[in-house]
Symmetry: C2
Subunit: 318 residues, 2 copies
């Protein structure tokens, strides 16, 4: 890895469970990867050291001039303009952390910060399922629901770059309580967490389901596996999940008018079980000019955020 | 009016009840106005003649070189890029009308077409309550709910320029049937039409209200008047209306992150009765960084769409 290869950047995905790193080239190819369990107890300072270590690991042998910088993807709310993490609900002690300034000091490299949903949207837009689209909505459906919007050929930003908190539109005012404190957010209805909860809530009504053996430990992953094996109860839960996703997606069609919606995140691993139901919901509930807008699975999988965050470094350097 | 005054444009507001016209200068000032009852029975051809007549009326004495063109604001769905009205639910026979081509032929002037909500948003953005904002959402609350979005200093367009169908986000999946055929659209919950319906539905429970005398003829206008006079039943309806508007506005904050939300349309004439309730709803239900975003009444009133449509002519000529 000692010959020059043009600009490279490191993407960092800072999550509540893992910190992941990837060395990415300007064509979006991942050249090296590393990951470690997030030192949640150690707080921001310890994690900063972890990031520094991961950057060292994935850039072994890379000449300094070839390294354009580091792009960090993190859960919101954050202020990507100020380079500040406002708070990470899953990481205690992460309140108002000026992560960009701290990492710049530690790494002596340009550092940019991006909301994880937006970073993944940018990854899919530049190198994945949204390539060459002017108008495109990316949703990530996993523990929560996040995402990002490309509108008229640009990343939709808004005030303080806080547009596209897609999971926190209310789709059912009397619905489930959300982690944000509100009730009936799309995330609280249709995330993987909500899918697992729905399974547990209804388990008693489905004694014939293979999921009953798991009892209160059932999660979305189990529901997907059971549905893939043909379990009727799990299939019904997935059909309902497709509708709940459809409700939010129809809203996004009407609000942003994308050419396509791309779905990533853990739940999208069951995309083949969801696509028909989502498509039918759209056909039945969107206004006529929006009914044919396709919904695709993400193309970059777990790499979308890493690649997207790294690519922001190149764009910033343009 | 024979001395040159720089570029002028005519704004046309094509509505189901009235066709209105205004002569507008590049500073957004309305120099002349005219209106006529829409010839709904005569169909597109008759209305085209009406528009031609109104343009003649408001441009009397204007030198031809001073007239930059005509901007038409019309209810959707329409394809402003193609200059085509797809359909106007309140005007029978208006299906796939190439209004821009027809008017260009008839007027021998540049003609542009804009969704009425977006036209009003542009008017308020350039000359009204959204002036100088980079990120701004305009909502019009009257028979339905429409609007437009300014994001990152530009009009949000999306595929086929159909973004920002704000009234057709589902805010209550089991809610009222909407004119679009869907259930629980924000428009079906919180428009002036919905407010009137809510009053009629609950009238029997409010024998002391002044509205009972009106019986099944009660409309939103009556509710507003009664609330302004202190009628307790009407005040409760307005308080609920503020909440229903708040639900949708919180979604718009999370989705577009505007610096302000501006409300126009008939129901906004009761803005003083609604503002406190809307603001309280936002403070209680938006995520922390969005809680202080203000909601203002529109500044241009009924002229927003006319001025906005006319101003598009100037922008197109730039």
């Amino acid at each position: 890895m000692s010959t020059p290869r043009g600009p490279l950047a490191v993407g960092i995905d800072l999550g509540g469970t893992q910190v992941r790193a990837a060395l990415v080239d300007a064509q979006g190819a991942v050249l090296a990867r590393a990951a470690t369990r997030t030192d949640a107890v150690g707080g921001p300072w310890a994690v900063m050291q972890q990031i520094k270590g991961l950057v060292g690991e994935v850039t072994q042998g890379v000449l300094r001039p070839d390294l354009a910088g580091v792009g960090v993807s993190a859960p919101g709310p954050l202020d990507s303009e100020a380079g500040m993490i406002v708070c990470i609900p899953t990481l205690p002690g992460w309140i108002d952390v000026p992560i960009v300034a701290l990492l710049k000091d530690a790494l002596r490299l340009p550092v940019v910060l991006e909301n994880d949903g937006v970073a993944a949207a940018i990854g899919e837009w530049r190198f994945g399922a949204g390539r060459s689209l002017r108008d495109f909505v990316y949703i990530t459906v996993s523990t929560g629901i996040g995402g990002g919007v490309i509108a008229d050929g640009r990343v939709l930003r808004g005030r303080r770059r806080m547009a596209a908190h897609l999971g926190h539109m209310t789709t059912a005012p009397e619905g489930e309580l959300c982690s944000c404190g509100n009730r009936g957010c799309w995330e609280a209805q249709a995330s993987g967490t909500a899918l697992g909860q729905a399974a547990r809530d209804r388990l008693a009504s489905a004694p014939a389901s293979s999921l009953t053996a798991l009892g209160p430990a059932v999660t979305a992953v189990d529901v997907v596996a059971a549905a893939q094996a043909g379990d009727a109860f799990a299939c019904a839960l997935m059909a309902r999940e497709a509708e709940l996703l459809g409700i939010g997606i129809v809203n996004l069609l009407h609000l942003y008018s994308p050419e396509a919606v791309v779905m990533g995140g853990g739940v999208s691993q069951a995309f083949d079980l969801l696509q028909a139901g989502i498509t039918q919901w759209i056909a039945a509930h969107a206004m006529p000019p929006f009914r044919t807008v396709p919904v695709h699975a993400a193309a970059l999988g777990q790499n979308a955020g890493l690649v997207g965050a790294a690519s922001i470094v190149f764009a910033a350097a343009d």
